[in-house]
């Protein structure tokens, strides 16, 4: 095996993303899967490995599509699960356990059609030691470390508010983005307080949508229609299932560990990265990501973004689809990170960055709970 010997040959989203009350969760998986297999120039019968998150999960998805897999991955660690599926597929293809793997995502996050919102058991540690204090979903948990970060590094409310402003500039160039109108720091700070210190415009969208990937070995990719995207390096880990038990509230150990492993495997440095996707469920997550991945020093990311480095024309294009803050966010957003990285590497993105050769996707699962990282390239190393 050699670095980059496994490739993404098919990548597609559902026909639409946004508000799709006519689509069940299962249909979102199926539509993304059919589009991705078609994009790869393959037939569903070519697929012999399946990865997805419950529910509906890999078995229901494969059964619906008529796939008879000899490799199944149901890893479910939140929104970064699909990055882990890609990592696991690389190993499976190298081991000969599968030749062509389909990874699917579909989520009726907004319309809640045929969805399964998994409540934790009442006796879980989360239910015993956090739920009694009035947490209600990601806005009340993901937010908790942020004030400690702001105090330690002096991040201002205005710098934080600039994160969605910068990403809206990318969304303005993407016709599929849900919100495209320019916004200002004042607009963000004047939007409704959701969970102090985060305002509405610093929180991700809640949408319906899906997407899928087809992964195979580089030697099988030659006859296929799309330029292959080589998987150069991958990482995965977790830190804590309880937000209150993060080791250090000013840095994500999961982001640090998964990205360090992916960069080391890929043999790249930060200067090699032309395009970056960081899971942006909330405005502070890309700030943590930029620092924890090592693109900037600790405490520097707020200023780095506010100075324009990550927006169109900047030296580190970040979240070029508009991100979870402006493009779409079904709940488990990680699939859309990979889709945009693939589009940029193929030269097919709506807001195409010129000359992208290496793209990195940093996923988050839960609330700084799990992480996955992919280093992708349109060239062999």
């Amino acid at each position: 095996m050699a670095r980059g010997d496994v490739v993404i040959v098919g990548a597609a989203e559902t026909d639409e993303v946004g508000v799709l009350p006519g689509h069940s969760t299962l249909r979102l998986h199926v539509e993304g899967a059919r589009n991705a297999v078609s994009d790869a120039g393959l037939r569903m019968s070519d697929i012999d490995g399946i990865a997805s998150v419950s529910a509906p999960g890999p078995i229901q998805v494969a059964h619906t599509l008529g796939i008879k897999p000899r490799w199944i991955d149901g890893t479910g660690v939140g929104g970064t699960s699909f990055l882990l599926h890609v990592r696991h597929a690389v190993a499976a293809i190298r081991a000969g356990h599968a030749t062509t793997v389909l990874v699917t995502h579909g989520e009726s996050g907004r319309s809640q059609v045929g969805s399964a919102r998994g409540a934790l058991p009442a006796s879980s540690p989360n239910a015993q030691f956090e739920a009694p204090y009035g947490v209600l979903g990601p806005p009340t948990m993901f937010t908790i470390p942020l004030l400690r970060y702001m105090k330690k590094f002096g991040l201002t409310a205005e710098q934080l508010a600039y994160v969605p402003v910068a990403q809206r500039k990318w969304a303005a160039r993407n016709p599929r983005a849900r919100y495209r109108e320019p916004i200002t720091v004042e607009d963000v700070l004047n939007s409704r307080m959701i969970s102090y210190p985060l305002h509405l415009l610093e929180c991700c969208l809640v949408t319906d949508g899906g997407g899928a990937l087809v992964i195979t070995s580089a030697d099988r990719a030659g006859d296929l229609p799309q330029p292959p995207v080589h998987i150069l390096g991958t990482g995965e880990t977790f830190e804590s299932p309880l937000i209150s038990q993060m080791e250090d509230f000013t840095t994500s150990a999961a982001f640090r560990r998964s990205s360090a492993e992916a960069f080391a495997e890929a043999g790249i440095t930060h200067g090699d990265v032309d395009h970056l996707m960081i899971y942006d469920a909330f405005a502070h997550v890309p700030i943590y990501g930029l620092e924890d991945m090592g693109f900037v020093g600790r405490g520097e990311a707020g200023a780095f973004i506010a100075e324009g480095n990550t927006e169109p024309g900047g030296r580190l294009p970040l979240n070029t689809n508009g991100g979870g803050l402006s493009y779409t966010h079904t709940g488990m957003y990680g699939m859309f990170l990979i889709q945009e990285s693939v589009r940029q590497l193929r030269g097919q993105a709506a807001a195409q960055v010129p000359g992208v050769e290496i793209s990195v996707a940093q996923g988050n699962g839960g609330m700084f709970t799990a992480a996955g990282t992919l280093v992708l390239s349109n060239r062999t190393p």
Binding site: A122, S123, P125, A127, Q128, F129, E130, A131, P132, Y133, G134, V135, L136, P139, T140, M141, T143, I144, P145, L146, L147, R148, K151, R192, M193, I194, S195, Y196, P197, L198, L242, S244, Q245, F249
Partner: protein, 140 residues
């Protein structure tokens, strides 16, 4: 009175001593007998060395406000409290735990990071849970 009750924990055998102590007005956490480190949340083995030789220690009940968010969209049962802080307290023994900050209006001006807090207790159905209030205040 809110229409819905606030969530009450459902203890498991390994967490029962924590809730029993809370019912007696004490905040107890576990400490590893092998490596000596205290930790939170209660669990069947030490997160530092995986030893299952553990003891319960009674904390001082004192700590500092480590971080928080002020939630404007109340969880079921918290309708009368919103906006309310969901905080993480650093105990003087080291470990951190989630809590609400009671006995003071939950505003950014009132809740200053690193302020001293001390434990108090709240009944939730048949279970008692620790809460925290600014240190040196009268019990509520």
């Amino acid at each position: 009175m809110s229409a819905r009750a606030k969530p009450a924990p459902v203890p498991t055998p390994e967490t029962q001593p924590y809730f029993d102590a809370a019912a007696e007005g004490e905040l107890k956490i576990q400490r590893c007998l092998d490596c000596g480190k205290p930790f939170f949340y209660p669990r069947p083995c030490c997160p530092f060395c995986a030893s299952d030789a553990l003891e319960w220690i009674t904390t001082s009940g004192r700590g500092t406000l480590y971080s928080y968010t002020i939630n404007h969209r109340p969880a079921p049962g918290f309708e009368q409290d919103a906006p309310y802080a969901i905080a993480v307290v650093q105990l003087s023994e080291g470990p951190r735990m989630m809590a609400n900050i009671v006995g003071i209006e939950n505003t950014p001006d009132n809740l200053v990071l690193d302020m001293d807090v001390e434990v108090t207790f709240e009944k939730r159905g048949d279970v008692t849970i620790p809460q925290f209030r600014p240190a040196g205040r009268e019990a509520i």
